[in-house]
Symmetry: C2
């Protein structure tokens, strides 16, 4: 089969930063299914893995990138009971395995769900990774009770995860959503996603206070943990919770959260698959919930850019756009 | 009234590290009651406040230390409905207010409970602060479900909080309790408290592994957050939770918890009183639960040393013992 990946970490502009190669078509077994991939989407993790995982080495077998995927089931393993050949599924994959940037992909059926039927493939494929991240952060990590009349601050509201987190929070909970943005375009985007308030993360504490909030019950940081640490410590309510998905560049003064008995939680969407946790099936259940919300028109796709065609050129352009940090919403590559 | 406290931060051996002075007897109002104090106990926070809160300054009014207290209600405020004059209550106080090292103390009725009747005053007075800390850590912060067959590692099992945490975990949950100790005396103490396993915190990862555990669902650190950080990161299960009550000496590499989507939570027993949170009454409810467990003989006092008499000499000796770090169990001062 045709696949796109890399065998050494290069800057994206280098000729071999991404390469096309022939790979063995995978074979389904046990819980694993083989999907004929229709489209993939870009997430920051694609570029991070490309840049960091093969520095100064050459991999024997090139690594296939791509986490978000949508496709049709080609074959199922012996333990798969809830899907059949021909089902169209979408998923966010497993960072420890080969990904969706190939004609066929092997994936654990317990982390896939039937794709939405009311939107296009490229609109659907941008949803899994960000939706799972946002859902797990709010409900599995911060353990938010949807009926609570509390506040959530989403730092980085216009990015992929921030956009979908805002929609999920507004559509499934009583939370008041304060999203952050700093440009006119991103501020408008956050409002389109349903944010009740949009504040500026360049002056976060004052900006939140000026919007009428002295403290915040839940903070979901999808932008920068280190830069916003002191502001988060100041804004978080006593006994509040902060969830982040972004590594810190430097060690952190966690004592700042102590007097208020604050909870700090990491959300890493690959944890369940990576450690094959007992609750791995939860990811399939969450994705099924996302499909349902989409097909009820409660959640809209965050797609903003589509590249047409399975080519190194298109994947390179998509990586470059992601690395620019300027992307609003999400990018799909349709094969 | 007679009171013991300090107006400058001194080492305990200095003459004026603690002084006796006359203070105004407090007056009850609203939710606040006045208690005629019978006994106090020592916690690390007493020495920390003494040493750190008046460095190179002289306070106009000496600060009265003492958080744990037991006594008889002398008068109640207008909003107090659940207690009456003459009730014997115990409590862990409020670090922002004057404490129990005085003949009378003003305290918010929403953080006190009727004292146990089956044990002595000195046995009872050592319980509130440690019990509240352990209870809040396990049930309000880590949100442990008592019915789960999971594991908890208590780092610092022989200290005041560790001792009571072990008992509460064993008596009210299905948790397997692994407590840490490093000396023969403390190892025996941990077993007496009910720990299922006692492991050595000087070689924590190996010691836990040798006890038969590859990973741990909940870690409660009451010893040293910084020193044990890497071991905790290694031992904690994917999606596990770590709660600490001890400030770190240096900034921390929190990224180590990310791949497993781990939760890190501070427990600070004074948060509810300090910020007058909406759920402040929860502390009274928890203490009432502790009283009930004690009077059902499910929890035993962690008292190991009693000083008799309200004197500067006795309080100094109690501070000195606490600062030695060698105390096993808890110290009471009975007036």
């Amino acid at each position: 089969m045709r696949a796109i990946g890399f065998n050494t970490s290069y800057e994206i502009d280098e000729e071999n930063s991404l390469i096309e190669f022939k790979a063995e078509k995978p074979i389904s077994s046990e819980f694993d299914i083989v999907v004929k991939v229709i489209a993939a989407s870009m997430n920051p993790v694609d570029t991070k893995v490309r840049v960091n995982s093969a520095k100064d080495i050459i991999l024997d077998d090139p690594k296939i990138l791509g986490y978000d995927g949508i496709g049709v089931i080609e074959s199922i393993g012996s333990k798969v009971t809830n899907f059949k050949q021909g089902d169209k599924v979408f998923y966010a994959g497993d960072v420890t395995k080969n990904g969706s940037n190939a004609q066929f992909q092997l994936i654990d059926s317990r982390i896939v769900a039937l794709a939405p039927t009311s939107i296009s493939d490229e609109e659907a494929v941008v949803l899994p990774l960000t939706s799972l991240t946002a859902w797990e952060a709010m409900f599995d990590r911060m353990n938010i009770d949807p009926s609570e009349n509390k506040t959530i601050l989403i730092i980085g509201g216009a990015g992929g995860v921030g956009s979908i987190a805002t929609q999920i929070a507004k559509q499934t909970t009583n939370l008041t959503v304060i999203a952050t943005a700093s440009r006119e375009e991103t501020t408008k985007w956050c409002k389109d996603m349903g944010a009740d308030h949009v504040v500026n993360h360049r002056d976060l504490v004052n900006s939140v206070n000026e919007a009428g909030f002295e403290s915040i019950d839940y903070i979901f940081n999808v932008a920068n943990t280190f830069i916003h640490w002191d502001s988060m410590a100041e804004l978080i309510a006593p006994q509040g919770k902060i969830c982040s998905i972004v590594d810190t560049e430097e060690p952190i003064d966690i004592n700042k959260l102590k007097a208020k008995s604050v909870t700090f939680i990491w959300e890493f969407m690959f944890t369940r698959a990576m450690f094959n946790t007992k609750d791995i099936q939860k990811q399939s259940d969450i994705l099924a919930e996302i499909t349902s919300l989409v097909d009820q028109s409660k959640i809209k796709s965050t797609l903003s850019k589509t590249f047409n065609g399975f080519s190194v050129e298109n994947f390179k352009a998509a990586h470059k756009l992601s690395e620019s940090g300027k992307a609003v919403g999400k990018t799909a590559i349709i094969f």
